[in-house]
């Protein structure tokens, strides 16, 4: 190749460049997913790429030279003259969404961009048309819309009020329940309109807390009253959560308001009834305290007022006997003796009753008490329990119990008194005492050689005013064993008796003072 060849070469390379560029552009057009079509100003198709073939189903051979109207469904034929008119004026049409028809007659959604094509002189000679199949996109949009509609349909029918708000807290939608309850319209409520149905006492606080959540993006919860269409406020528990996109940006807030008025009222009613109960307890306690005070007053009166007239009756009868006994016959003296004895008995009854009531109401301080020492002290007080009138013996050690010593002394001396009292005439009372450990408790047994108790009377034995022996033979008020039971029970113990025809055996059971058994 020579010098001249240089130019040729240059020409050739320029031509090559042009050819290369054309081929390159053609390749781009051919490989595009979009349909790229050109037409002249009469709407006759002049080029047709592979994308167009794929989207519309026609091959290039089938459509080139045919009017573009074959792609337009019958109900949209009127679109084309308008598009052509705009093209002639040099206007461009961007992303025009419309519907076109495939070769097989099916319709598809497309987005159309149409640009005028000019020749070297700048005259408009046709148009390039880029059509993008947006059927999928449209379907996705429809799906979103439908799912949104379904969501609203559901949320419209829940019993709670619900709403959505923008990232900045402007409400964009309320469910039906909201309008039913508030009697408002969206126009009144949109944006920050919702604040007007808040109670003035709570509004500032609610807004401040809601704004705090908007700022931090933390879900929101609050309880406040909202005004209904009847002007009455009801209490709502309100919650809202932020809904974020894939990047974590808040797209909207979804909130609900749940009517908790009844819950609130139930709580208040509960609080009221609790208060009421407290008051009633206080009143009962007061009346109980009063009853106890009256009971104590009553006991006190018995001890003083009731015994005074008895003492007087007895005293005057005695004085009459002493001063005028000589002028009375035997009958008169006997009558006076009856009065004296009745008076004594009455006084003993009153005293026993007082002991009983004192044991029933007094405070008991429990501590270890040695049974041996206790029995020894009791016996030393009563000549009728000592030799030669009676014999009281102990078998083995008596051990200690947890008890209130004065009460246990009272109970034990009553048992011992009974043991030496209820013997057959002419029999010397013999009483044996022993203790028996039973787990963490101790039983004190009092066994006598007395007249015993018939099985049918045993149930009544420890009752108040129960007398199961002939009063002429055996003196008693019928309170002694009731005192025994009451005092032992008040110390957390039990009493009982067994009789096997050979005297009686009474027992008192109390917590043992022995730590190890």
């Amino acid at each position: 190749m020579g010098e001249s060849g240089q130019d040729v070469v240059d020409d050739t390379s320029e031509l090559k460049q042009v050819e290369t560029r054309d081929a390159w552009l053609a390749a781009i057009v051919e490989s595009s997913d979009d349909a790229i079509v050109t037409k002249d100003l009469n709407g006759i198709i002049s080029s047709w790429n592979k994308g167009a073939q794929r989207i519309f189903g026609y091959s290039a051979e089938e459509v080139i030279g045919k009017p573009v109207a074959i792609l337009i469904p019958p109900d949209r034929q009127s679109e084309e003259p308008g598009i052509l008119a705009r093209l002639r004026q040099g206007q461009r049409i961007d992303h025009y969404e419309t519907v076109r028809r495939r070769k097989d007659g099916t319709l598809l959604d497309i987005s159309l961009t149409v640009s005028p094509l000019r020749n070297a002189e700048g005259k408009i000679v046709g148009a390039s048309k880029i059509a993008r199949d947006i059927t999928e996109q449209k379907r996705a949009q429809r799906t979103v819309r439908e799912s949104e509609e379904r969501f609203r349909a559901v949320v419209d029918n829940i019993s709670q009020m619900a709403w959505t708000a923008t990232e900045s807290g402007d409400v964009t939608w309320y469910n039906r329940r909201w309008y039913e309850y508030t009697g408002t319209t969206f126009e009144q409520m949109k944006g920050k309109g919702w604040t007007v149905i808040h109670h003035p006492d709570h509004r500032e606080r609610v807004i401040a807390k809601f704004e705090e959540s908007l700022r931090t993006g933390q879900s929101w919860e609050d309880t406040f009253p909202l005004r209904g269409k009847d002007g009455q406020y009801r209490w709502f528990l309100s919650r809202a959560v932020p809904i974020r996109d894939a990047a974590g940006k808040i797209q909207l807030w979804f909130g609900t308001n749940t009517d908790i008025t009844e819950l609130q009222e139930a709580r208040q009613a509960l609080a009221r009834s609790h208060e009421d109960l407290e008051k009633r307890v206080a009143e009962r306690t007061a009346s109980l305290t009063e009853a106890i005070a009256q009971m104590e007053e009553f006991s006190y009166s018995i001890s003083h007022d009731l015994r005074a007239p008895v003492r007087a009756m007895q005293g005057y009868a005695q004085a009459t006997l002493e001063d005028y006994g000589r002028v009375l016959d035997e009958h008169g003296r006997e009558y006076l003796n009856h009065i004296v004895r009745s008076g004594e008995r009455m006084d003993r009854l009153v005293r026993d009753l007082l002991v009983y009531s004192r044991i029933a109401r007094s405070e008991l301080h429990l501590q270890p008490v040695s049974l041996y020492r206790l029995v020894r002290d009791i016996v030393s007080h009563y000549p009728e329990m000592q030799q030669p009138r009676a014999e009281i013996t102990t078998r083995g050690e008596l051990h200690s119990v947890i008890a209130h010593e004065p009460s246990l002394t009272q109970a034990s001396s009553n048992l011992l008194n009974n043991a030496v009292k209820f013997v057959a005439p002419g029999v010397k009372p013999e009483v044996e005492l022993y203790s028996e450990q039973q787990g963490d408790r101790l039983r004190l047994w009092v066994h006598d050689n007395g007249i015993g108790i018939k099985p049918e009377y045993r149930a009544r034995l420890f009752g108040l005013f129960e007398r199961i022996h002939n009063g002429k033979q055996y003196e008693g008020t019928g309170i002694g064993l009731a005192i025994v039971r009451k005092s032992v029970e008040r110390m957390g113990g039990k009493v009982g008796m067994e009789s096997n025809g050979n005297g009686s055996t009474f027992w008192i059971e109390l917590p043992s003072a022995q730590t190890d058994s």
């Binding site: 006991s299 006190y300 007239p309 005293g315 005695q318 007082l354």
Partner: protein
């Protein structure tokens, strides 16, 4: 010391006339010679001991060596009278014997805490009351030494 112990006055504070009768009789039977003065309520007891009004005449109402004080009385109770006595500088050493029908532990405790010298429960029979009067005579009138200031008056 002009008067011997056996002649000194005894004051009985008792509202029940039957008890007054029985007490007089028991003292007499116990051969207690001391004159017995009686007032029927707590206020009178205070007036007698303080020498208020008519009681200012100590010829008619001599200051007692011993006071028998019932607890349940009209107006001031026996406990109130006892508390008053122990608050009076001149009466702190006066012998006060509680004589009542109450054997309530609370009454007994309170009486001793307020400064009673002795606490006797009225016995149910005349014989026992007579025995009590005799014991009283031997213990309080025969053997007991009274504080000096109580003989002044």
């Amino acid at each position: 010391m002009a008067l011997g112990k056996m002649n000194r006055a005894l004051l009985l504070v008792e509202d029940n006339e039957d008890d007054v009768f029985l007490m007089r009789r028991a003292l007499k039977q116990a051969e207690i010679q001391n004159p017995l003065y009686v007032v029927g309520d707590g206020d009178q007891a205070v007036d007698y001991l303080a020498g208020n009004g008519e009681f200012s005449d100590r010829q008619l109402y001599p200051f007692p060596a011993v006071v028998f004080l019932d607890l349940k009385l009209p107006f001031k109770s026996g406990h109130d009278v006892l508390a008053w006595i122990r608050n009076e500088a001149e009466l702190v050493e006066l012998v006060v014997v509680i004589l009542t029908s109450s054997d309530e532990p609370s009454d007994i405790d309170r009486a001793y805490k307020l400064g009673a010298n002795s606490y006797l429960v009225k016995p149910p029979t005349l014989m026992q009351l007579r025995d009590l009067a005799k014991s009283f005579k031997w213990y309080w009138l025969q053997y007991n030494q009274f504080a000096e200031c109580e003989t002044m008056e």
